[in-house]
Amino acid sequence: MPDLTPDAWTCPLPLRDYPHVVLGHGGGGRLSADLVEHLFLPAFRNAALAPLGDAAVLPPASGRLAFTTDSYVVRPLFFPGGCVGDLAVNGTVNDLAVSGATPLYLSAGFILEEGLPFADLGRIVTRMAAAARGAGVTVVCGDTKVVDRGHGDGCYITTAGVGVVPDGVNVGVHRAQPGDAVVVSGAVGNHGMAVLSVRAGLEFETQIASDSAPLSGLVAAMLAACPDLRAMRDPTRGGLAATLNEIATRSGVGIEIDETAVPVDDEVRAACDLLGLDPLLVANEGKLVAVVPPDSANRLLTVMRRHPLGTRAAVIGTITDQHPKVVVARTAVGGRRVVPIPLGEQLPRIC
């Protein structure tokens, strides 16, 4: 096992010819091979990747296959609590996990911008590998392309993921029913505010770190305790608001949440208020929303709170047959409001 801590990572000799990514690293020749041999292989080392075939050949798996893909574009590449590398693993792992699947394999496609420092790429790949080990998945195939300087934001990563859904597990955002409880696994808004806090032009001093984490372990514990879980979703872009609206729309039900029950860290709330943003609309990368029959809610909460990623799990609301397809929040002062579907990015207000 190579030492994969970022500080210990050093470019083996052939890569030291260039301290930065050059176009040739995507050309399929010697430079490309160097990159694979000295960076990707040691980091992701596994039996399926080792033969470096045109495709990974994998053993048969029992259960239904779950298959997903996502592209990761984040600026800056490194932010408090993570980087594009762990995001690319955790995001895809989480999409599999909330579908009820046990994540198994990932592919990784890199689009690198000419001039990206190798030290940065090394840190990204190292953190990716660490995230994969943490999530119990292996990166079994990949690809690298290099684009001209100015044609990319340093490093884009696309991952696809395969997992298996065990027999008896059947979750879907269309399955919420009136009376069900809506549970969130922890405080929302941290990832989006962590990235904003280091974005050029907006640097503000804060302790907020991204919540980027693989949810597969938490989901496994949840499914073991509550096989009757109806729906799960990870509230990434668009935040909790987008996820709740999606569940309401796809299930044809209303959702009523208690705004004060939604866990939000003080720092996140303060930063959101300062910028005129709504924490319910800010992205998360290590949280999930679950819908569960009412008599299973307490059992689910107990199990979730025992898991390190679910210590602040809370029931935030209920599914209702009132106002179908509309999400309504009860506010701290006792008013009610519609929780909107975000249109696009939230735009910081003038004053």
Partner: protein, 373 residues
Amino acid sequence: MRHLTEFRDGALARRLTSEIRAAVTRPWAVMEVCGGQTHSVIRHGIDQLLPPEVELVHGPGCPVCVTPVELIDKALAIAATPGVLFCSFGDMLRVPGTREDLFAVKGRGADVRVVYSPLDAVRLARQNPARQVVFFAVGFETTAPANAMAVHLAKRLALGNFSMLVSHVLVPPAIDAVMSSPANRVRAFLAAGHVCSVMGFHQYPPLAEKYRVPIVVTGFEPLDLLDGIRRAVLQLEAGTHAVENAYPRVVTFDGNRPAQAMLAEVFEETDRAWRGIGVIPRSGWRLRGEYRAFDAEERFAVGDIRSSESPRCRSGEVLRGTLKPHQCEAFGTTCTPRTPLGATMVSSEGACAAYFNYGRLVALGTECATCPT
């Protein structure tokens, strides 16, 4: 989490509400001037806590909403000029001009950047000496000091490549315009707390006297707003028309003197067109004297742009307080945040957008609301 949760306390909110209920004997229309207050009212559901007699009327205090379409068109033209780096606050990007918005111009290749402070635009000008950097200076008295500071700094640094497209507007002339309108129903004002943090509230006693209207300087948190409304209602019921400060933790009578000095150095009063309302005399600021050299309207030839509003948009009536957003026939049908006819549907502070996003329950009748889609 002091200063946040303590001003959102449910029990205190109920106490203030019951004081309002106990005091009110007849219908009153109270205008919250500032768009930030409108946003807070709707976001926290404060309007639903009030007795039916107290009607909140949303005022013209949303800078995005009242920036005239001509100026948006000028911004679009300047942003599309080759070599220009156009800087704006985020929520101006989606405001429709005659044909399109800044997002569309950006999509076609213009360099439009969202900044969080006008000083960031000055920094960009220093970093890009070969390019013209333009900052879209929009806002009320609240944002004006930082914008004044930016021009002041640019002048001191002799930055020949920095300029500002200025559309500053002022609150007291707007209150005057609302009160002198024949269709006016407003009987009391919640003055915008953040504007007053800069300007103080010494401008208000003459207005209160002239129109015999109570004016309460009010903050933005739920308890601030409820306290402002409570004081306004108590005055209305008592028949008084004093200027009160319900936001003393931020606002003083004199305001921020150094900021006012900077404003006086850089800006002078001018007549300004308000989108949907029309020209209000001496209701805005423009660059004065030698700061004119930093006026983007003079630097770029954008004088002959033809602008026109959607004839179906009734945002002027909304901004004057004579029409509620959901009473407009286009609301939620042909006019949505995705397809806005006017700016009030775009800005997060705009009354129409606030109603659309947060208030659909109110607009549709609370308990049996269904999604329009």
